[in-house]
């Protein structure tokens, strides 16, 4: 147990340097200042802003949230004023924020993504771009981009062509083979991958017989999905070389360490901010303590260090109970 100088918690995603490995999940941290009175934004790696689309979106009917065992379901429906209004009225307010801001781009066609990405990335207030490909593609009867390797490759290539800023591609866990999708995104030029977005789910009110979400289905987040997300990070890390922002149910430093050991270079915190806005600061402090206690000096020394011993044989025995 060698004590070392205060560990270095900075991480590098593409050409983006962050002081801390903690990114606030898109859609969970608004425009980056809603939590300013309750959390020390100086102690945050970056805020991934709420996803923006080409056209304004009113968003989904209500209710949009429901609390379930060890997590929540949400179906916000990407409510946002559209890129024009966003650039004119919202982005200017981002100047001089105490922490790095990463823009999140969503769309319903390849062209949408390229258009919004290019205009957003052009702004100095935006340090990098996260591409949320978990949206349904209206062209191919609503199949989501993130569920199809070809569509994923197309979207990422289109977005890549519009900017040199760091491009983070956010993957969906709702696929048979997430590693395959990850390879496509890497090949198409992604600088980093966010793993994972919410898991699709549904809840029904047994008295009214109505779905508990206005949108019928929603995305599951919180501790309930942590083991699913840890495995997704583990599998993606074995398939690609670019850094991974691991997320899904991270509430404590121990949770964060699980993702780093599984292969993540940084971590995302979303739902845990709704439990306690002090979580991000606690995790940063906890990571620092842990590194010191273990005589380590950088986060990178943890990334992917889970020691799995025998594997393929084990994988054959499989998860079949």
């Amino acid at each position: 147990m060698t004590a070392v100088a205060t560990p270095d918690l900075s991480v590098r995603l593409g050409n983006l340097e962050l002081p801390y490995p903690t990114l606030m999940g898109s859609g969970c941290y608004g425009s980056g200042d809603e939590f300013a009175s309750f959390a020390d934004l100086h102690k945050i790696g970056a805020v991934v802003l709420k996803s923006v689309t080409r056209e304004p979106r009113l968003g989904n009917p209500t209710p949009r949230l429901v609390h379930v065992a060890a997590g929540m379901l949400n179906a916000i429906g990407l409510q946002n004023p559209g890129i024009d209004w966003y650039l004119e009225h919202d982005v200017p307010k981002f100047a001089g924020r105490p922490c790095v801001l990463i823009g999140s781009v969503a769309g319903f066609s390849i062209d949408d993504y390229a258009y919004v990405c290019e205009r957003l990335a052009a702004r100095d207030e935006i340090a990098a771009i996260e591409v949320n490909i978990s949206c349904p593609n209206v062209a191919s009867e609503g199949e989501t981009f993130a569920c199809d390797p070809r569509l994923t490759a197309k979207v990422v290539r289109a977005a890549r062509s519009t900017t040199d800023k760091t491009l983070i591609v956010k993957l969906s866990p709702n696929v048979t083979d997430i590693a395959g999708i990850a390879r496509e995104a890497e090949a198409a030029g992604a600088d980093a991958l966010a793993v994972v977005n919410t898991v699709r789910g549904m809840a029904i009110d047994v008295e009214t017989w109505r779905p508990r979400l206005g949108n019928v289905t929603g995305g599951l987040s919180g501790p309930a999905i942590r083991p699913i997300a840890v495995l997704a990070v583990y599998e993606v890390a074995r398939a690609v070389k670019i850094p991974i922002v691991g997320q899904g149910g991270i509430e404590t430093v121990s949770d964060a360490l699980e993702f780093l050991l599984a292969g993540a270079s940084a971590i995302g915190i979303g739902t845990a901010n709704f439990t306690d806005p002090r979580v991000p600061e606690r995790i940063v402090a906890g990571l620092s303590d842990y590194l010191q206690r273990r005589g380590l000096s950088t986060i990178a020394e943890l990334t992917g260090k889970a020691n799995v011993g025998r594997l393929s044989a084990a994988q054959i025995e499989g998860d079949a109970g």
Binding site: C28, E34, T252
Partner: protein, 278 residues
């Protein structure tokens, strides 16, 4: 058009408080008192806090600030589910973190001669501070208070002691008017100021009565919250795009809609009855 009382965001912060008293005020209704000087000073009628469940295993719970005197505030809540049960298990001496005060409280800048407050069920928890403020300003305040049955009428005598004129109703007729509290409202003269907090069927009825009476009611709404601070757009209600509380949105292009979804936690929780499009 008057704005709701602005949330004094510079006052809002995380408060680490400790329980100083606990009362079971009705069947499965708990009142907890906390030592929280700054919060007590900052709280305004209609505002709420987000209480952090001690286990750290569930989302923070939005609770109205019931009392706020000197260095003490109190919360009043129903044991509805996992989180309120966890809070209900707290005992004097236990620590609890909460953040706030949050939300835009009732608009009380022009105290009227006659004000009417309609409270249903646990809605009572969000109107005491407003009643006190109006009484201090010299208004005549009438409280119309409805509950399931007499056992669930919490602290109604206390409002009377303060100087409110209290009329109650119960669904089962066990006390006061047998029926809905909004029926009591119907029997009244149109008030200059009308505040309401309670279950949404009640609020819709109040909105309808107000329309008939030709007055605007201030309604304190409820919805499932996640962040409680405007960060997730999960707690919305359809609002006229013309409302001063409507979130910024391209006026020209709303897909033809003159309605936008406003965040109950940020733009609300108090809205004008005639601007809601629910």
């Amino acid at each position: 058009m008057t704005e709701m009382q602005p949330a004094l965001d510079h006052n809002a912060r995380v408060h680490v408080t400790s329980v100083i008293d606990r009362r079971v005020v009705a069947p499965s209704v708990i009142s907890l008192g906390f030592r929280a000087p700054e919060l007590a000073r900052a709280a305004r009628g209609g505002q709420y806090v987000m209480a952090v469940p001690p286990s750290g295993e569930a989302a923070a719970v939005a609770l109205g600030i019931y009392e706020a005197h000197d260095d003490r505030i109190s919360l009043l809540f129903f044991l509805t589910g996992k989180r309120t049960r966890e809070l209900g298990a707290l005992r004097p001496g236990d620590e609890l973190s909460m953040f706030g005060p949050l939300g835009n409280g009732f608009e009380l800048s022009k105290p009227p001669k006659r004000a009417t407050i309609v409270a249903g069920g646990v809605g009572i928890a969000s109107v005491l501070l407003a009643a006190e403020e109006l009484l201090r300003a010299g208004s005549r305040v009438e409280l119309l208070y409805g509950a399931r049955s007499s056992a669930y009428l919490v602290d109604s005598t206390r409002f009377a002691r303060l100087g409110c004129h209290v009329a109650v109703s119960t669904d089962d007729g066990s006390a006061g008017h047998h029926g809905f509290v909004t029926q009591l409202l119907e029997q009244r003269e149109p008030p200059e100021l009308l505040l309401a907090c309670g279950p949404s069927p009640m609020l819709r009825a109040v909105a309808a009565s107000a329309a008939r009476m030709g007055v605007r009611a201030q309604l304190s709404l409820e919805e499932t919250f996640a962040c409680g601070v405007g960060g997730c757009w999960g707690c919305v209600v359809p609002l006229s795009a013309e409302s001063a509380q409507a979130p910024s949105f391209p006026p020209s292009d709303r897909g033809g809609s003159d309605v936008v979804y406003a965040r109950i936690c940020k733009e609300g929780p108090v809205f004008w009855s005639d601007e809601l499009r629910w």
